[in-house]
């Protein structure tokens, strides 16, 4: 019964949450609370753990909830359940796109969606910076994260260093410098 609950709840979340990652968390909270899947103290760990651990945020939150609710199989089940709706939808959309790729409508659609993605990703930089480099109200800038940001710009932009190496090095440095 618990497994069935997990499948239903996370399938629902996967099908109806737009925007990805952090934008999915409110719906996850709502559903998890409604079905009493986590105790209040575990619930507050949910955000911290799902963002601080490697992996996409939504499957992280799903695995955490499933694991606490129904053990290791529960975690695995929840992760796959949250991914299943978009799995089906992406395949259907790609089939449709393949058929109508040459149509004027689809070409126009991408003509507008490509610059939209540029705007979205640029805004994400500001958003993530707001949780690591600067703070609003009162405005302040943390110098060490700012330094890490600038060094990353140089290493990645100028010297084309592999982002994986940069993340590992900066994460290690941050453990001692930013703590």
């Amino acid at each position: 019964m618990k497994f069935l609950h997990l499948i239903m709840v996370f399938f629902f979340i996967g099908a109806f949450s737009f925007g990805g990652g952090i934008a999915m968390l409110p719906l996850i909270f709502q559903m998890v609370q409604e079905y009493h899947m986590l105790s209040p103290e575990k619930f507050s760990d949910l955000i911290a753990v799902s963002q601080a651990v490697p992996g996409a945020v939504a499957p992280n939150a799903a695995t955490y909830t499933g694991l606490e609710y129904a053990g290791i199989p529960g975690g695995i089940l929840a992760a796959f359940s949250i991914a299943l709706p978009s799995f089906i939808i992406v395949l259907l959309v790609m089939k449709f796109m393949g058929r109508y790729r040459e149509s004027r409508i689809v070409q126009g659609l991408f003509e507008g969606m490509r610059p939209t993605v540029i705007g979205l990703i640029s805004a994400a930089v500001i958003f993530i910076a707001g949780t690591s480099i600067y703070r609003l109200a009162p405005f302040s800038v943390d110098l060490i994260p700012l330094g890490i940001f600038i060094i990353t710009l140089i290493l990645s932009g100028k010297f084309k260093i592999n982002p994986i190496i940069i993340i590992v090095v900066m994460g290690t440095a941050g453990a001692f410098l930013c703590g």
Binding site: F16, F80, S86, R104, V117, I118, I121, S122, T152
Partner: protein, 192 residues
């Protein structure tokens, strides 16, 4: 293609997305520089424009963007089997890391080393994403229409914090109207 080659190709696909998922820390957008490096530059499974199209589609659909991107690229490479393997590869780091953290540590708690590492990774991710989006912008933003859309979306999201799916729909609609008007004008110009 022989069975053995097919299995090998699927395994490579799985590993590529496992690697991408494992180094995605702090949310879907942190995945973009990694996917750009691993999938576009190293494996050359998509070119840059296809990558941007993939992100546009994945943003517009429900679900986690990183997982959607894995399904999209997996399907493009090896059909449904490829999609399944790539998606599983992207999910696996979540499952393994969350399980390890919960079983070994109970929870992350207030560990200053971990929160320090996390702050640094996020600050670094800002730099990585900025470099990636700069490269994409050079490729995509070719005329005043593109610049206007990108700037409007940036302001709308950055300041008003609306959901990503809304600008994607509006931007797509604007693109359809823009290309239709441009075509009309070109046709009218031909007649003169």
């Amino acid at each position: 293609m022989t069975k053995k080659n097919k299995a090998k190709e699927l395994f490579v696909l799985f590993l590529a997305f496992f690697k991408t998922g494992f180094f995605t820390v702090g949310g879907g957008y942190a995945m973009i520089p990694i996917i750009q490096r691993v999938i576009v530059e190293e494996k050359k499974w998509l070119n840059e424009t296809e990558m941007i199209d993939c992100l546009a589609v994945c943003q517009a659909l429900p679900g986690a963007v990183a997982v959607n991107a894995a399904t999209f690229i997996g399907n493009k490479r090896n059909g449904i089997a490829g999609a399944a393997v790539a998606t599983a590869g992207m999910l696996m780091p979540s499952i393994l890391c969350i399980t390890a953290v919960v079983l070994l540590l109970g929870a992350l708690g207030e560990n200053t080393y971990i929160s320090g590492a996390f702050t640094a990774i996020k600050a670094s991710a800002c730099g990585l994403i900025a470099v990636t989006v700069f490269g994409m912008a050079k490729k995509v933003l070719k005329n005043p229409f593109h610049w206007t859309v990108a700037l409007l979306v940036f302001v709308a999201i950055g300041i008003f914090e609306i959901m990503a799916v809304i600008p994607i729909i509006l931007g797509g609609t604007a693109g359809i109207i823009y290309t239709a008007v441009k075509r009309k004008r070109a046709e009218a110009g031909d007649h003169q």
